[in-house]
Amino acid sequence: MNPARKRTARLIVALSAAVVLASALIYTSFSAASPALSPSQLVRQAQPGRSYQLTGTVAKGSVRHEANGIAFAVEDRAGGTTIPVNYTGTVPDPFREGREVIVTVQKQGGRFIGERNSLITKCPSKYKTAPPGEKQNY
């Protein structure tokens, strides 16, 4: 093979490898991704054994400390549907009632189990003072 053809062949092999790898990446990202749903959407769509990213606010008066973690309920941002979640793992420092959270959950029986260490507290004002309504009231 002359050098020019050899180079072209090499380029085609390299490009095809890149395309194959990129397609694998893109395919797996769609199949491995957990959709982000609000409680009212999750109630309608949840299938057992699939992971979902549940987003909403922590319902008032719902946080309970248990032997191996915490239980709390996630409420639609606008209020309404709430979903109780049992969660084990790290609880971020800013977590509290009324805050917006994202937690990866799976439906097991009639319950939603939070994936270990998946809880993120999305504090809308992380680097600023929280508005009064969000504060923990003593």
């Binding site: 990446l25 191996n68 800013p94 999305k122 504090c123 600023k128």
Partner: protein, 720 residues
């Protein structure tokens, strides 16, 4: 004072506009005195922004709560050092820091090049001032750091307690220095394309500043990881969070550029690729800033109420489109002078390393922006988690570490098989010995971790061999003792041996990451005093509760009103190892609605972890005490009802005593991780190696090089 700050910003904007006009007019019309004036306006910008930054810093130090940003992010109870760092904890303050650092680095770059590449520098000046002007315009029109309120509040809200940590004070300036330094190669690269002078001169500037950017960005990322590990009650150092990823991406493309640049310097190849990497690194750095500012992705870092999305999208779009247009329209100037001679050569190893780094960057880019991509394509927001990132990044990291061991010992152009075998035999044997030792020691699970240990051993072997050969050669020639020869070797070839140290540091860091993520033992459980549990080989016993009150005596010196914790005894096979005392700090919320007592502890609660760090393992502990028991809550409620604000601390003291007397079970997070310390040691080695490589060569060497090049030129002339 605020007026002075506002005037400075307006003046800075005017200077940017003038400087852009002057440099463009100067270079277009050939009247370079205007371009010089444009360059001087960058110095002026640096001066003006220094004054603006000083105004804000002084307001923070003086507790001038008339400044809205001071009232929002600082308070009298925030300890002094953290007050100084609170400047960049707000959105407005960090924009000012960005613009200020950009003006300083730009001044340095333009000062160094003031007598060279005047056309390229003139375009670069305009681009840098354009970027600076963009940030200043954001501060003038969207988020001004100098907004004031009358009457000034008596007390501010305080710095977020999570940020009251020493590395948090230097992490943002480091990262921002890295981001802003990325702008220099971007500006000079675009300048070179615009001026159609794509020669070696701009590359020298680009290399030096890309290296500095790489160093600062790397240090910033590592400090952030350290903060996450030692401050957040999480125990991890990397979580594939959107903002973490955003800082890693330009670092990866920057690393690729620093390697492929060597091929361009030596062989005149890969010019389009290098230019694209420089421009991509700059665009990724802006995107990193954008991610923090826009709140477009869910991140633990996102600023509240961030509204700067649209201007950033416009800037990134313009930069990307401009870069693509310039590279495509100037592609004739960027033709390679040579072709790859052999697949077994240093060039091809570097090329492979570049492809792996860019692939890593692509994986991280895709994963980070996946929520946006998926929403755009399917209408449903979805995100990928750490397991997805690990699936791709772990094998790529393995290849990368392996290549970092092969690259330095393989010849340029064309290596013979015999030559490659001679150079790679020792490292391969060392890697094999490591594998045998690991299997003999009973490490048989976690194939990826074992592979990483072997790759690490391979790199140590290959770089160690290079050092030994170099020292041996010097000893043979100059008859020096081994330590003197080693020092002289590194001093004479800073770039090369500094680079080698960086490679060893990276290998050590990855070994630490592999060991600590694969062989970690963790436990989360509730314990009462006297209770104990086993984590890995260690027994951890909850001896007694602790409580401190008043910000002044806060054990962690972060100004918490109340701090509740525990004394833990760590032992192994009956032998005492360490006594640890994790605690949780409760902070004043400054919110009167919570009651005279309630607000004193109603702010953010923050874990203060306690750990015993060692060369072989870290024992890491955090506590979340339960203060919502009815008995403790009653104290707060009664205090709220009966105590005026000036006596409210009495109730806190009473609460602390009640907690000590009858402590409810506390929730503990306990982790035993092997080799975590090697992540930090590896990081320090990378930083040290980087400093050695970037340090200018000693004047004597430079003089000798100059003499030699003149002699060569004279020879060439004589021959002609």
């Amino acid at each position: 004072m605020a007026v002075l700050g506002r005037v400075c910003l307006l003046l800075a904007l005017a200077v940017c506009a003038y400087g852009i006009g002057a440099s463009l007019y100067g270079v277009r019309s050939g009247r370079l005195e205007f371009a010089d004036s444009g360059r001087r306006s960058v110095y002026a910008l640096a001066g003006i922004l220094t004054v603006a930054f000083a105004v804000l810093e002084i307001a923070f130090l003086r507790n001038d709560f008339a400044f809205v940003t001071v009232a929002d992010t600082s308070s009298r109870t925030t300890p002094g050092l953290y007050r100084a760092a609170a400047v960049w904890s707000s959105q407005e303050g960090s924009l000012l820091l960005w613009a200020w650092l950009l003006s300083l680095w730009s001044s340095l770059a333009l000062f160094i090049t003031r007598r060279r590449m005047r056309e390229v520098a003139a375009y670069a000046t305009a681009i840098l001032l354009g970027l600076g002007g963009f940030f200043i315009a954001l501060m003038v029109f969207y988020a001004t750091p100098f907004a004031t309120t009358r009457p000034a509040p008596a007390e501010g809200a305080g710095l977020d307690p999570l940020l009251r940590f020493p590395t948090m004070m230097i992490h943002p300036p480091m990262l921002y220095s890295g981001y802003t330094l990325c702008m220099i190669p971007l500006a000079f690269g675009m300048g070179a394309l615009l001026a159609r002078r794509v020669d070696a001169a701009w590359m020298r500037v680009a290399r030096r500043f890309a290296f500095a950017a790489w160093l600062f960005l790397g240090a910033g990322i590592l400090l952030g990881a350290r903060w996450s590990y030692a401050e957040l009650g999480w125990g991890g150092y990397w979580g594939w969070d959107a903002v973490e990823n955003a800082s890693l991406m330009p670092w990866l493309t920057g690393t690729a550029f620093l390697h492929s640049l060597m091929i361009q310097e030596k062989r005149g190849m890969l010019k389009v690729w290098n230019m694209s990497l420089v421009l991509a690194t700059g665009a990724l750095a802006i995107m990193g800033t954008f991610l923090v500012r826009s709140g477009v992705l869910n991140s633990i870092h996102a600023f509240g109420g961030a509204t700067l999305g649209v201007p950033f999208v416009v800037l990134i779009g313009a930069l990307t489109a401009g870069s693509i247009y310039l590279v495509v329209s100037r592609r004739d100037m960027l033709r390679s002078e040579h072709r790859l001679d052999s697949l077994l050569s240093r060039e091809s190893i570097f090329l492979a390393n570049n492809l792996v780094l860019v692939a890593l960057c692509f994986v991280i880019f895709w994963g980070t922006y996946f929520p946006l991509i998926s929403e755009a394509l399917t209408g449903q927001e979805a995100s990928v988690g750490p397991p997805w990132f690990d699936r791709y990044t772990v094998p790529l990291a393995l290849i990368l570490v392996l290549l970092s061991g092969i690259g330095p010992v393989i010849a340029w152009r064309r290596a013979t098989l015999a030559n490659a075998r001679r150079n790679l035999a020792t490292p391969a044997i060392i890697a094999l010995l490591a594998l045998v030792a690991l299997v003999a020691a009973g490490v048989r699970e976690k194939p990826f971790a074992i592979a990483m240990f072997c790759c690490g051993a391979f790199v140590l072997g290959s770089i160690g061999q290079e050092f030994v050969r170099g020292v041996r050669a010097r000893r043979a020639i100059a008859g020096e003792t081994a330590p003197v020869a080693l020092l002289a070797l590194v001093r004479r070839n800073r770039r090369r041996y500094g680079g080698y140290i960086v490679h060893v540091g990276m290998a050590v860091l990855f070994v630490g990451v592999a060991a600590s993520s694969s062989f970690q033992h963790a436990s989360e459980l509730g314990l009462s005093p006297g209770g104990s549990t086993r984590v890995g080989a260690y027994t951890i016993r909850y001896l007694r509760p602790t409580a401190t009150i008043t910000p002044r005596y806060d054990a962690a010196h972060t100004g918490s009103t109340l701090s509740l914790g525990a004394v833990l005894d760590v032992s192994r096979q009956g032998r005492h190892v360490a006594t640890l005392s994790p605690s949780e700090g409760y902070y004043d919320s400054g919110e009167p609605a919570q009651g005279s007592v309630g607000h004193l502890i109603g702010g953010q609660a923050v874990s203060h972890i306690s750990m015993s760090a060692g060369v072989t393992r870290d024992v890491w502990t955090a506590i979340a005490p339960n203060i919502s028991t009815p008995a403790l809550q009653r104290i707060v409620t009664v205090g709220n009802r009966t105590l005026p604000p000036e006596q409210a601390e009495v109730a806190i003291a009473y609460l602390a005593r009640a907690y000590l007397k009858n402590p409810p079970p506390a929730q503990f997070h306990l982790i035993v991780s092997p080799l975590v310390m090697w992540i930090w040691i590896g990081g320090l080695m990378v930083f040290g190696g980087g400093l050695i490589a970037i340090w200018p060569a000693p004047s004597s060497v430079r003089a000798r090089v100059r003499v030699r090049s003149r002699a060569r030129a004279a020879q060439g002339l004589a021959r002609a």
